[in-house]
């Protein structure tokens, strides 16, 4: 305590107006300290409000960043085009749609807003190495452009090249999780594994990407799409392709060109629905941001009610404090305090009170969020600077707003009445 006093008093030594405010802050802190329990109970409302702001914001922000990063990690300019079954007037499936390799090539050739394309064959495969057997591994059959399109690179060995794709070579690139599950180290590169009983040479390892929503992204195997189609001919009906726009702002243009080319090639009449679908991750990102904004503002509304309640608590206690210290106010006025000095003193006190409450709330909120993030399925916590500033700003604002009335009441007390007050 003595040290605290000493430090605070040193701060007051800073000359000028700072000193005056500093002095008011010290007076306020002394007053708050003198009524510890009362002060704590008073700011409980503010503490709870700010704790919930920080907890909720940090969790939604952490989650939002997580989703954003995942989607960015897919490659910001990437879209996936996939066949969609044609439906009849009553929604029944008429016939399977199909995207052919010539569709893909013609998009690649004729759409100038498209930079790269790659066919993609999806399959869940079984992988064997020695006595280890893994099932349900995501197999992707792509061409050599997979790396730049998906922004997902090999960091050991090499990726397959155009010649491998041309020849439908039995080569594969493994994600780190597959390596781990096979209980192998990086020396597996160059060795052979079996994918659905076919012998493949491991020529490279993909960089680790981590997991998303509990699903490990590194549990993946890439092979040339030609090889994949040879192994799983029935997947031809589901052949999809990656499309990379030339730039982020060219995504709408690329989309338009792609739709036009495919509709033309499939002979679709106006009014007929597309027989293919597009997965655009920026669209998802926007939707996600929208939902996040709505969620945040709804929460902000709820929180502001608790701040209001906290503010009323502060006003109540400040009124009590003013009444209790009427004589002190009289004395201060008799030794030269102007109305505005008294006003500032009590306003400072309520602002300090609410800001201290806000600071406690920030610490508690951060602690709670950190605690919550320890749960394995939780995302990393992030407390953005703006939320801390907002929380502190709001609590200080509450202090000013709800402290104003009591402070004004104190300021206009007549010194004679105040000195006679019992």
């Amino acid at each position: 305590m003595r040290l605290l006093y000493a430090v605070l008093h040193m701060l007051v030594a800073i000359p000028g107006g700072v000193a005056l405010i500093g002095g008011a802050v010290v007076t306020a802190l002394v007053q708050i300290w003198a009524n510890k329990v009362r002060s704590l109970l008073t700011v409980l409302g503010i503490i709870i409000a700010v704790t919930s702001i920080i907890t909720v914001v940090s969790l939604t922000q952490g989650f939002g960043d997580y989703v954003t990063n995942f989607l960015r990690g897919l490659g910001t300019n990437m879209m996936v085009c996939y066949p969609e079954w044609i439906r009849g007037p009553r929604g029944e499936f008429l016939r399977p749609a199909e995207l052919s390799i010539t569709d893909i090539q013609s998009v690649d050739t004729h759409a100038d807003a498209v930079r790269r394309t790659s066919p993609v064959v999806f399959h869940n495969s079984t992988v064997e190495y020695g006595r280890r057997q893994l099932t349900g591994i995501n197999l992707r059959g792509t061409n050599e452009l997979f790396q730049p399109i998906r922004n997902y690179y090999v960091d050991l060995g090499r990726f397959y090249g155009p010649v491998d794709v041309e020849n439908a070579a039995q080569v594969c690139v493994l994600g780190r999780e597959v390596l781990r599950k096979l209980e192998c180290d990086e020396s597996l590169v160059g060795d052979y594994i079996h994918i659905d009983s076919q012998r493949f040479q491991v020529i490279g390892l993909l960089e680790a990407k981590g997991s998303f929503m509990g699903e490990n992204q590194d549990q993946v195997i890439c092979v040339p799409w030609t090889t994949a189609l040879k192994m799983y001919p029935e997947q031809r009906d589901y052949l999809a392709f990656f499309v990379e726009a030339a730039a982020e702002d060219k995504i709408p243009r690329a989309e338009g060109q792609l739709v036009r080319i495919l509709r033309q090639r499939h002979g679709l009449k106006p009014g007929q629905a597309n027989d293919f679908g597009l997965f655009k991750q920026d669209q998802i990102l926007q939707e996600f941001h929208k939902i996040r904004t709505i969620a945040t503002s709804v929460l902000a509304g709820i929180v502001s009610i608790s701040l209001l309640v906290g503010g009323i608590g502060i006003m109540n206690v400040m009124l009590v404090s003013v009444a209790e210290r009427t004589r002190e106010i009289g004395l201060r006025k008799s030794v030269g305090a102007r109305r505005r000095d008294i006003l500032m003193q009590f306003l400072t006190e309520s602002v300090v009170l609410s800001t201290v409450g806000g600071a406690i709330g920030i610490v508690l909120g951060y602690g709670l969020a950190a605690l919550a993030s320890m749960h394995p399925s939780m995302t990393e916590v992030k407390v953005p600077g703006w939320s801390v500033a907002l929380a502190l700003g709001f609590s200080a604002g509450v202090g000013i707003f709800f402290g104003l009335m009591p402070a004004l009441k104190a300021a206009i007390i007549h010194p004679i009445d105040a000195l006679r007050h019992e």
Binding site: L20, G23, V30, A34, R327, E328, G330, L331, R332, K333, S334, V335, G336, A337, R338, R339, R340, D341, P415, I416, L419
Partner: protein, 249 residues
């Protein structure tokens, strides 16, 4: 009435001209002061006496710029305080007047030193700490500067209050029953301090109802029903002051 003495030591600090104060208590008008005129010169040592209801508290409030007269003029160091704004009045209270109260009115939980510094924080005076230390050693409390009021005796508290009043070298010290809450021995000690402060050239006005306190001052002004009924020099007054006082009344 107005002193025309060219001696600087004799200059008029307080001049009251036909001062009236009327209060409204409910529907009733109370005429607390009914035309008081007097002047007090620099380095005078004045006791204001009178029974309760005589108007002495009202006069003290007006002298201390805590209240303004209803009619008449109060010139403090040549300045008419009736014309001052609230904040100018606060400034006058801070710089030109030092208050000493019956119940000391020290800030609780605040050291003697900080209590003495308080008026200076409002006037933004420089060298607050040094001046506060000087003030405390003048009243003999140089060794108790870090004590809080609850660690001080009544006499010590009143000394802190006197040091606080002196800190800004005010034009006048206004003491309202300064010994009222003290035993007679401690009261005498406090009066010794007032004597010493007066000897240093300070103007002191003490409101009291105790004759032996008034007797230690150099001039006694007695009020009754809002009028001055007595204004005379005491036996302790130097000859010049006694002459002045007798000619004034």
């Amino acid at each position: 009435m107005i002193a025309t003495n060219d001696n600087a030591a004799q200059q008029v600090v307080i001049q009251l001209v036909d001062l009236h104060k009327i209060y409204r208590v409910g529907t009733e008008l109370v005429h607390a002061l009914r035309g008081v005129s007097l002047s007090i010169r620099k380095n005078e040592y004045v006791a204001i006496m009178g029974p309760s209801g005589s108007g002495k508290s009202t006069m003290l409030n007006i002298l201390g710029c805590l209240d303004v007269p209803s009619d008449g003029a109060y010139l403090l160091a040549g300045q008419d305080v009736a014309k001052l704004s609230q904040s100018r009045l606060a400034r006058v209270r801070g710089r030109q007047i030092g208050f000493v109260f019956q119940s000391f009115e020290l800030l609780p939980r605040t050291t003697a030193l900080k209590n003495v510094e308080l008026p200076m924080t409002y006037t933004r005076a420089r060298h607050r700490r040094r001046r506060a230390l000087d003030g405390l050693s003048r009243v003999g409390l140089g060794d108790r500067i870090h004590h809080r009021p609850n660690q001080l005796s009544g006499g010590q508290k009143q000394r802190v209050a006197i040091a606080r009043a002196l800190a800004q070298q005010p034009d006048i010290i206004l003491a309202d029953e300064p010994t009222g809450n003290l035993d007679s021995v401690t009261g005498d000690e406090i009066m010794d301090i007032f004597d010493a402060v007066h000897a240093d050239g300070q103007t002191i006005i003490i409101v009291t109802h105790e004759d032996h306190i008034a007797a230690r001052c150099h001039r006694v002004i007695e009020l009754k029903d809002g009028n001055v009924v007595r204004d005379e020099a005491t036996g302790r007054a130097p000859d010049a002051a006694r002459r002045e006082a007798s000619t004034a009344s």
